[in-house]
Symmetry: C2
Subunit: 448 residues, 2 copies
Amino acid sequence: MPSVRQFSREQRVSIPTALHAYVTLEMRGLVEARPKSGFYVSVRFSDAIPQIVRAVTAPKVSDLAQTDPLDLIRADEYQPDKVQLGSAVPSPDLLPGVRLARIMSGVARRLGASGGNYGPVAGLPLLRREIARRSLSAGMNFGPEDLVVTLGATEAVALALRAVCSPGDTVVVESPTFFGLLRQLREIGLKALPIPVDAINGIDLDALASALGKTPRVAAMLLVPNFHNPVGFVMPDDKKRELVRLAASRDIPIIEDDIFGDLPHQGPRPRALKAFDRDGGVIVCSSFSKSISPGYRVGYIAAGKWQQRVLALKRTQSGGNPLLPTLAVAEFLESGGYDRFLRSFRQSCRQQVAAMREAIGHSFPAEIRLSRPAGGYVLWCELPARVDAMELFHRARAVGIVIAPGPFFAADNGFRNFIRISCGYPWNAQLERGVHLLGQLARQLSVR
Amino acid sequence: MPSVRQFSREQRVSIPTALHAYVTLEMRGLVEARPKSGFYVSVRFSDAIPQIVRAVTAPKVSDLAQTDPLDLIRADEYQPDKVQLGSAVPSPDLLPGVRLARIMSGVARRLGASGGNYGPVAGLPLLRREIARRSLSAGMNFGPEDLVVTLGATEAVALALRAVCSPGDTVVVESPTFFGLLRQLREIGLKALPIPVDAINGIDLDALASALGKTPRVAAMLLVPNFHNPVGFVMPDDKKRELVRLAASRDIPIIEDDIFGDLPHQGPRPRALKAFDRDGGVIVCSSFSKSISPGYRVGYIAAGKWQQRVLALKRTQSGGNPLLPTLAVAEFLESGGYDRFLRSFRQSCRQQVAAMREAIGHSFPAEIRLSRPAGGYVLWCELPARVDAMELFHRARAVGIVIAPGPFFAADNGFRNFIRISCGYPWNAQLERGVHLLGQLARQLSVR
């Protein structure tokens, strides 16, 4: 780094200000001070780990029949004694649960009997106004009437799929993709057409165009363009624009899962695919489950052309959301509490991901590749080809460590030697030990 | 009535006790005291109105394409300035909303951050235990593992239909039946096979058997055997047994909507169809929306053979229910509050239905027929054949009275001269005026 004096001169700030900036960087672990020598950019061990470049599965329609991991995924459930590297859920200690509970308690008392009324099926107007207001930061511009409040992004995606697909249809997904999305396709009786992604640009648009040319009818694309789960990429804006244009030209609806969009580690929130939508062909689904509270089950959908269809489906599938939790979330947004919370939460995510990458770098076999997500809190790790991730998964479970093995994220049993590691918890000794142990298990499997 | 003295002698009770009994009957409006003459059984004007015997539509599969009343049904929405005879929702003043809000407020405070966790997809174990315990009163005998907590009966029925039907399938329904059920069939792309009901025995089992013989494949029966909406019948136990046997012999699943089952006006709770189920072929759906709180959205399903399938669908369609409202309802059940509440609420339902029948008898055209429900709070009224219920509906709406017209309850545009009237509100002057005005409108339409 330049000396403090030089930096102060170059940046035209006072020496105390320059020093304050350096100390702040030091506190964040980005630079380190060496006595009598000056400030140096910190070397992280994990910086040397190569990024994952691209998956190599060739696109092929899969009927998903063989790959239901339901019985194995216990990671959804809440087990405080386990080392939680499996489920992409943040630590309750990080979330504004107490604050929200206080709002909820007040709302319940204040509304009394009328808190038990059916609300409108589309959802509480206050919440839709707040979500609409926030949509500007993602390059969208909703009115409250463009939105339907849902039970998490889960219901939003289910409604979108029901609105645009019929059983037997084929849906484009990223390869790899979040297992919950594959599970949804499977339950509705849809087929998947997995298209490879790379860690920089997201879904491979050439491979996509070519696969669309060869596949008779594709009913929809179900994609996670921002802080992709599990790979962590954010599609660049020009790729987003190109993708939306490609889909529109072939009249294929895009269902966008933007659930991690609010969680960049630094800088502005990335734009949604929906921001590039000109004809209502993009359906955006999201929720506050990853950033306010999983259990309040407050999500939303903006379904473009299919808005009325989605509203009718919502009416018959579950009716309106429960009023009180929805109102509590709406008041939290309205009060500015969510924006304040996000500032600290984004920093926690960044630190946790960095700490986890570092620990993985120290413990895992040398030949791994590891994602470098710019937001969210999951890591995608490619292990040496010899390592069977399912076996690692079972061995880790046996010693109390939960991870999500690669095959869960594959429509077609690929990603045999990949694992997803969640960084939802602040770094602590239990995690340290867990990752160390996991690395040992991976090493054992890699030398057999 | 016998004299108080004579009654005391006959029943071997003291004179004060006998007098107390007579005064209680008087307070309930069942007897009246005439000075210097004694007690007389009250004559109700409405006792003379004939019961509805049976609808006359011949069973014919309908694709439901022409009958979506969605645009017209505003009755779902909450409009305090309207005379609410439309929506089958009780007055919030009757429901334990304040009590529940207090529990909810306490639960939120007590749980703090952890109230925001994802719960198990099948639903809170405490609630499932309480529902299982209560199932005995309906002749069922569930364990908690037989149940999945849902977002009202709406989601329960949607899950059941998704579990046993595919788009294009035919489903037996009662004729008439609740429009919400028809709407669900329509949204999923199912066809309806409406079978006539009568006000005493429910669905006509001969007509059913004959229609099943003529229809290639029936995927399910979607029925409301207890306090049917809109007709009000409770199927007698022997008919229930026969119906379940008929369905089992043809391997047709029954989806039972038991949402009003907890609301007999007097006497014990009727048994569910599920009580007669021997092979897991009956799926029972219910909720606390009609008897605790519509807006808490707490319902449940016991799906028999399809339990695992329903659980998987619930996972992908909406995830688990929001934790806090579910826990509040569970604690209300556990504390005995629900049972205490039901005692007074059942009496309110009975009184409101009686008052409404009486007012209808005084205001409506003389040729009407009117249901005599033994539970719940809706009335089904057959108007003179000349009256077009849709026109009555529109005219009534124009003067601020909401009713539900007969065609909403028909799979095939029948019931042109029927209306359903909800008695969810305690009798008051606004209702009195509303029913009087409605009667005038009906008379006008009947003499054209």
